[in-house]
């Protein structure tokens, strides 16, 4: 039986790798999901059918419950995907933490000889990462969902970072002591303290981080959830847990790196920088002069252009304007205008946000062009249509050394021959700073909700 189980785990490992590999191309991506489902089914069956496993009714009930909660959770609107991911991480962390706790209790009270130092060390990691991820992810989900009693703004206080790190250090110290002598007197109290500290640290870690930095934090929590699965693998001597957890951990790591790099910020800055706190203070856009354009005028210019680049941003997602954009795209394409979408890696609020949104409206992904590729073509572009994007087209990132976003790679909308920008107000974007693009000579504002404005543009073009 060991052999069958181990072989099944090996097959599942390879399938998981294949699953992620298939995501390198939208064409093969759905096969990736299939491979993942297959791998998971194999893993579950192989584990369940082991001779030591009984209480099948319990397992069945738990699975049915899981499905009953999981199906509705998968039907959330796309705008709620970040929150859903965070909640999922919370569940994942909880599961890891509970399994670790269960094994600790069992070994301590029933088989203390089995509780080797190695296993104890692994359990400490599992429980730390697990419970930290649990509360941290719940907080993150709350901030993203804008739950009332969780403050959106970063909350800071004196000695915050020092006390947080102290807390974590204390948990590590207790863990080390436990690992040195797993069966010491008061081990259970040590263990309970570690759990409490982990739960508290998860909350305190998120409090000073602004709601808009949550996507990066979620990715880091993703990595932690993976690491807790790895630790569980060390505890249970289970290689499938280790490999799948490691794949998950590297995914979280790389996505957070990509986001940090695209924002030109460091992890430390995201985690401890309390970014977004000073937001309101820096913006003073109201004092400056914007040029506006009418819908009719803009529609005319668009219709006569030979190439249009649409630069979508967070506002497009908020307004759910993707279907209207699709109409506009169809009309322009039919009129012989070349339309491309310029996708900034951190446009919106999660990695790849704009791509899913536009895919939802069935815009073919061949017309979604990455930042690096489109930038060289921007000077030849007749019209850049900025829809609810702000920071990702802010030329200050290129020119103004004092700007908080200086050095962040941007889409060079300012180099287009004409720029139209759709936004509701004179408020700044996520970074809370003015955008020189809006004040330049060739830029014309189309104030209003993205969905409404784009809809009217399409109507004009359709009639004209």
């Amino acid at each position: 039986m060991t052999h069958v189980v181990q072989l099944a785990y090996l097959v599942a490992t390879v399938l998981f790798v294949f699953s992620l590999h298939a995501m390198n191309d939208p064409k093969s991506a759905r096969n990736g999901v299939r491979a993942g489902v297959l791998a998971m089914a194999i893993a579950i069956l192989a584990t369940w059918l082991q001779p030591g496993i009984e209480h099948h009714f319990w397992i069945l009930v738990a699975i049915v419950l899981g499905v009953a909660i999981g199906v509705p959770l998968s039907r959330v609107p796309l705008t709620a995907v970040p929150q859903r991911t965070a909640v999922s991480h919370a569940f994942g962390g909880l599961a890891a933490g509970l399994v670790g706790t269960a094994k600790f209790i069992w070994w301590t009270y029933h088989e203390p000889s089995q509780l080797t130092q190695f296993r104890m060390g692994a359990i400490v990691f599992e429980v730390l990462f697990g419970f930290l991820t649990f509360t941290g992810s719940l907080m993150a989900a709350g901030k993203l969902q804008e739950v009332k009693w969780i403050p959106q703004r970063p909350v800071t206080y004196r000695f915050q970072n020092v006390s947080n790190i102290g807390l974590l250090g204390l948990a590590f110290l207790l863990g080390l002591l436990l690992a040195i002598d797993p069966t010491r007197a008061g081990a259970t109290i040590f263990f309970a303290a570690i759990i409490m500290l982990a739960l508290a640290f998860g909350v305190l870690l998120i409090i000073p981080i602004g709601g808009a930095d949550m996507p990066t934090v979620i990715s880091i929590l993703n990595a932690y959830a993976g690491l807790s699965a790895v630790a569980m693998g060390f505890v249970l001597d289970n290689k499938l847990l280790i490999t799948a957890g490691a794949l998950d951990g590297s995914s979280g790591l790389i996505l957070s790196i990509i986001m940090c790099r695209a924002m030109n910020r460091s992890f430390t800055n995201v985690l401890f920088g309390a970014f977004g706190q000073v937001q309101a203070a820096q913006a003073n856009g109201d004092q400056r002069h914007y040029k506006s354009e009418t819908i009719e005028g803009a529609a005319q210019v668009l219709g006569q252009a030979s190439s249009v680049v649409i630069i979508p941003g967070y506002g497009l997602a908020v307004a759910q304007a993707q279907h209207r954009v699709r109409e506009l795209y169809d009309l322009l394409t039919k009129a012989g205008v070349t339309v491309k979408f310029a996708i900034h890696p951190v446009a919106g609020r999660m990695p790849g946000h704009m791509n899913v949104l536009l895919a939802e409206a069935e815009i073919p992904y061949g017309d979604l062009v990455e930042m690096d590729e489109i930038n060289s073509d921007m000077p030849q572009c007749d019209v850049a249509l900025v829809i609810g994007a702000n920071d990702v087209v802010n030329p200050a990132a290129r020119t103004d050394k004092s700007s908080p976003i200086f050095g962040m790679p941007i889409i060079d909308a300012d180099k287009a021959k004409t720029v139209f920008a759709i936004k509701r107000s004179k408020n700044p974007g996520f970074a809370g700073i003015d955008n020189e693009l809006y004040f330049q000579d060739r830029t014309f504002m189309l104030f209003g909700d993205a969905k409404a404005v784009v809809g009217e543009l399409a109507k004009q073009l359709g009639n004209g």
Partner: protein, 143 residues
């Protein structure tokens, strides 16, 4: 790998090393009992090898994921990390465990199953929306 070395720079490398060292410290402490009980030294190192190799694979594979698909990637890895289900089944169904322990396993199992189901479903739902350039659905709409 260069990717990592360049960008994460000191911070992650540092924390990686700390974690690694702690682990190593734990592993290398003189074992207080014979090799029979629990994981033997060599077997423990095999697990570390498996971890290191899987991480290398992960970094290589994820780096090549299409930028278009980063949102579905997040939910796919989310589903994969629900592999904790394996541990949950062992604890929830293990015949030797008393009820209070199995209750913990039960909760863990519900949580993991939720992640598996919702993770895969939502990933597939998102991926279905990606239409190939010039695919039929797309042509029809362009009509």
């Amino acid at each position: 790998m260069r990717f990592i070395l360049q960008d994460v720079g000191s911070k992650w490398l540092f924390s990686g090393i700390v974690v690694g060292l702690m682990f190593f410290g734990t592993v290398s402490l003189p074992a207080s009992e014979g090799a029979q009980a629990g994981t033997s030294d060599v077997e423990a190192w095999s697990l570390v090898f498996v971890f290191a190799l899987a991480t290398l694979i992960g970094l290589g594979v994820i780096e090549r994921v299409s930028r278009l698909l980063h949102t579905p990637l997040m939910s796919l890895t989310n589903a994969i990390s629900a592999i904790a289900v394996v541990g949950a089944i062992i604890v929830a169904g293990g015949k030797e465990y008393p009820t209070e322990i199995r209750v913990l396993g039960f909760i863990a199992l519900v949580a993991s199953m939720t992640n598996i189901v919702s993770g895969f479903l939502i990933t597939d739902r998102m991926l279905k929306m990606f239409k190939q350039p010039g695919s039929s659905a797309n042509k029809e709409a362009k009509r």
